[in-house]
């Protein structure tokens, strides 16, 4: 896996810790996500990358489920990969 690269969250495999770089969305959505703690700069772990099952992340001990469309809109940088 190329690290230090911007990739779409959709392509990140389970168990990877990533840093959120950018959300490609309208102002309203961005702010809503920000209120839930999903802000550029924040780190989270991908618990399940969506196959099979939903796209689930762990944000500071809090589970969040994302639609596939949502995961596409998020640009992240993998920080480490624990196998």
């Amino acid at each position: 896996m190329k690290s230090k690269e911007e990739i779409s969250l959709r392509k990140v495999s389970s168990g990877t810790l990533v840093m959120l770089l950018k959300i490609d969305a309208g102002q309203g959505l961005k702010v809503r996500l920000a209120a839930m703690g999903l802000l550029p700069g924040v780190q989270f772990t991908v618990i399940n990358n969506g196959h099979p099952g939903p796209f689930v992340i762990d944000l500071k001990g809090n589970r969040m489920v994302l639609g596939k469309g949502m995961a596409d809109k998020m640009l992240v940088k993998p920080i480490s990969k624990n196998d």
Binding site: Q27, R32, M36, L38, V56, D58, R63, M64, V65
Partner: protein
């Protein structure tokens, strides 16, 4: 303390899933009152609580993550704080999820509201290995903090104590201000200077808060600004900040708030173990599975409905018996032969109408009990996710699936269940198309016509076809509404997955009771009025001749009445659909409730109550073709939702306009669809 405040108003704020409702129930017990905030469809719950010499009026604010102007809930919450000026705002915090929950607290602090923090879920936090230095956190935020366990009533007394103390305190607001960094602070200061002229706004809010909101481009505040110079200055500041940060100021501000919270937590919160809710993850792997998720959901829903109707059968029977007894008892006051109008009004009009609604109460209570369990355990969040893939295609949220399923039982609770949808457009769209999901009452109509006109082997298929047409029309209508009247970003799916929890018995009971009461009150009052009106229309005016005669038949009365005349008048309009005057008469009756259709048909054919329904079927077969029968069913499926539906739609959307739109729109749709089907059918045969 020279004078004692006896009455205190408390607002309860908090994130969704923080246990806010549980704390509210714990504080108020059953002394609750549910209503709506004025002008919007956001639910408002209030309750009283006595503590020592004080009477606390507790208002449950909507559960929100933030206080922006992006959703009705958030606007309602902050307006309440500004306009009603509660003596204390108690912010319920999920302490197992501390940082995100403190985000709301920080925004409340910026509003200079007097706050007490309830660190709820402290048992969960402890199990997660989180240890709080409460004293330090309390001084960092400048606020009293009380640890609670909502579902065990722990810490509630201490919470009340701290609340009462804060209410009496003169200096009760935190004086902490988040520093947004030099660039933003400079702009804030500039804007605060400019704001001196906005006297009205300054009366309500503090100037720093207004300035922050201007940078956040808060629509509600922008609307209230009078001086265009202020707006220009705000725009300049925003452009300037955007240039520096390469990002919307709003996001930077959110980031700084989180930064402050992180800092505070690093100092005062220790995480001793690194375990996560693994059991929840394991359950999720199954129930949200791409393949198994949907079947599991459908199976669960099936169990819910099956139980609802299976168990509900008994109390329904009792209620039916009760109403039967009442009407016999009341009829007993009048000797036979001397049938009085008052008797008919009470027995046929009032008892018939209201009874028809009350009978469904057990079903509704059971249904909402099941929903309360699914919600309380956390499964609802998963169900929403599982169905989101399908619902998303028609521009709705996954959660819309639940009201739709309920709609097959009865449209009224289905519309009430739409409260689980946060997004207003989603909610209204779902409410508007719900009558297209063929409800239980309409089965009575199908049960009359299908056996009369179709061979046994086709009956199931015809029934299925009717249901299917309803669903397809609902999907198309929802899609069209989302593209036109109720257009808006289909919010990409992001949701919190709360860990699985055991709901408390009390919470379920309270939820059930609330819904039941709302149903009785809102639907009941309107139904009563309309039932009386329809009774009147079906009985008046009466011809002089008839009044002299001893045995005037129901049929004659109906023909002479307003309903009878109206159907005569409307008949030509319904000719192209294959309907005659009798059908139109029955359709008018069905406006009260779909079951009435069958009763009205019986009257127009002068079938007495003792005769079997097969007699009516026989007569129908003589007068109509299968095509006509199908068209009648089709029209009943689509057209004019019943009175209870109209009443609930009005109540739940907050506007009579939506209810009228729904009624008229569906009736027009029914007309067009039936017209096409009938004419096509005639042409083909």
């Amino acid at each position: 303390m020279t004078e004692k405040i006896k009455n205190i108003t408390i607002a309860l704020a908090g994130n969704p899933n923080s246990g806010k409702t549980t704390v509210f129930n714990s504080l108020t017990g059953m002394r609750q009152h549910v209503g709506n905030y004025p002008g919007v469809t956001v639910e408002k719950k209030e309750g009283l609580c006595h503590h020592k010499d004080f009477v606390l009026n507790i208002v449950d604010l909507p559960g929100t993550y933030s206080l922006t102007a992006y959703s009705a809930e958030e606007i309602v919450a902050r307006n309440f704080i500004v306009e009603e000026k509660p003596d204390v705002v108690v912010d319920v915090i999920d302490s197992a999820n501390i940082e995100r929950n403190l985000y709301l607290a920080v925004q409340l602090m910026e509003m200079e509201a007097p706050i007490v923090l309830a660190f709820n879920m402290s048992d969960v936090a402890k199990n997660k290995g989180l240890i709080f230095d409460i004293e330090m956190l309390s001084s960092l935020f400048g606020l009293p903090i009380v640890q609670t366990i909502g579902n065990k009533d722990q810490g509630i007394n201490e919470l009340l104590e701290a609340t009462v103390k804060t209410a009496q305190d003169k200096q009760r607001c935190s004086n902490l201000r988040i520093k947004y960094g030099k660039e933003i602070e400079d702009e804030l200061e500039k804007l605060q200077q400019q704001l001196q002229t906005e006297k009205d706004l300054l009366k309500k809010f503090n100037s720093r808060w207004i300035a922050v909101k201007l940078l956040e481009q808060d629509e509600e505040i922008l609307k209230q600004v009078k001086d265009t110079k202020v707006l220009d200055a705000a725009q300049d500041s925003i452009n300037h900040l955007r240039e520096i940060f390469g990002e919307e100021p709003e996001i930077i501000i959110a980031d700084r708030r989180y930064g402050f919270i992180s800092g505070a937590c690093q100092e005062a919160v220790k995480n001793t173990i690194e375990t996560r809710h693994n059991r929840s993850d394991m359950i999720d792997a199954v129930v949200t599975h791409r393949v198994f998720g949907l079947p599991i959901f459908v199976a669960l829903m099936y169990i819910v409905f099956d139980l609802t109707f299976r168990i509900g059968k008994w109390p329904m029977g009792w209620l039916e018996g009760l109403f039967g007894f009442l009407s016999r008892y009341i009829s007993g006051f009048w000797p036979t032969g001397q049938e009085s109008l008052i008797k008919s009004l009470i027995v046929d009009g009032i008892l018939g109408g209201v009874g028809g609604v009350v009978i469904f109460l057990p079903n509704i209570l059971l249904l909402f009990m099941a929903i309360a369990v699914l919600e309380g355990t956390g499964y609802m969040a998963r169900a929403a996710f599982v169905t989101d893939r399908i619902m998303h295609k028609i521009g709705l949220h996954g959660k819309s699936f639940i009201p739709m399923l309920i709609g097959f039982g009865c449209t009224v609770p289905a519309i009430m269940a739409c409260r689980i949808l946060e997004n207003r457009r989603n909610r209204i769209t779902t409410i508007l198309v719900l009558p297209l999901f063929s409800c239980g009452a309409r089965i009575t109509i199908y049960a009359l016509f299908i056996p009369a006109f179709f061979a046994l082997k086709w009956r199931g298929a015809v029934m299925l076809l009717i249901y299917f047409i309803g669903i397809v029309l609902a999907v198309i209508a929802a899609k069209i509404l989302r593209l036109t009247l109720l257009r808006g970003e289909t919010v990409p799916f992001v949701m919190e997955l709360p860990p699985y929890r055991m709901p408390t018995f009390k919470a379920i009971l309270i939820h059930m009771w609330e819904r039941g009461w709302l149903y009785l009150k809102k639907a009941g009052t309107v139904i009563l009025v309309i039932s009386v009106i329809l009774w009147f229309a079906g009985n008046f005016p009466r011809s002089a001749v008839e009044q002299e005669e001893e045995d005037i038949s129901q049929k004659q009365i109906l023909e002479y009445s307003i309903t009878g005349r109206l159907s005569g008048f409307l008949e030509p309009a319904f000719k192209p659909l294959g309907f005659d005057k009798r059908i139109v008469t029955a359709l008018i009756g069905a406006m009260a409730a779909k079951e009435v259709f069958v009763a009205q048909m019986g009257i127009t054919y002068a079938i007495s109550e003792h005769e079997d329904v097969s007699v009516l079927r026989e007569k129908l077969r003589a007068d109509y073709t299968p095509l006509q029968a199908f068209c009648i069913m089709l029209f009943c499926l689509i057209s004019a939702p019943c009175v209870a539906t109209v009443a609930v739609t009005r109540a739940e959307t907050g506007r009579i306009g939506w209810a009228i739109f729904q009624w008229a729109g569906l009736t027009a749709l029914a007309y067009v669809v039936t017209l096409v089907v009938y004419q096509l059918g005639m042409y083909l045969s």
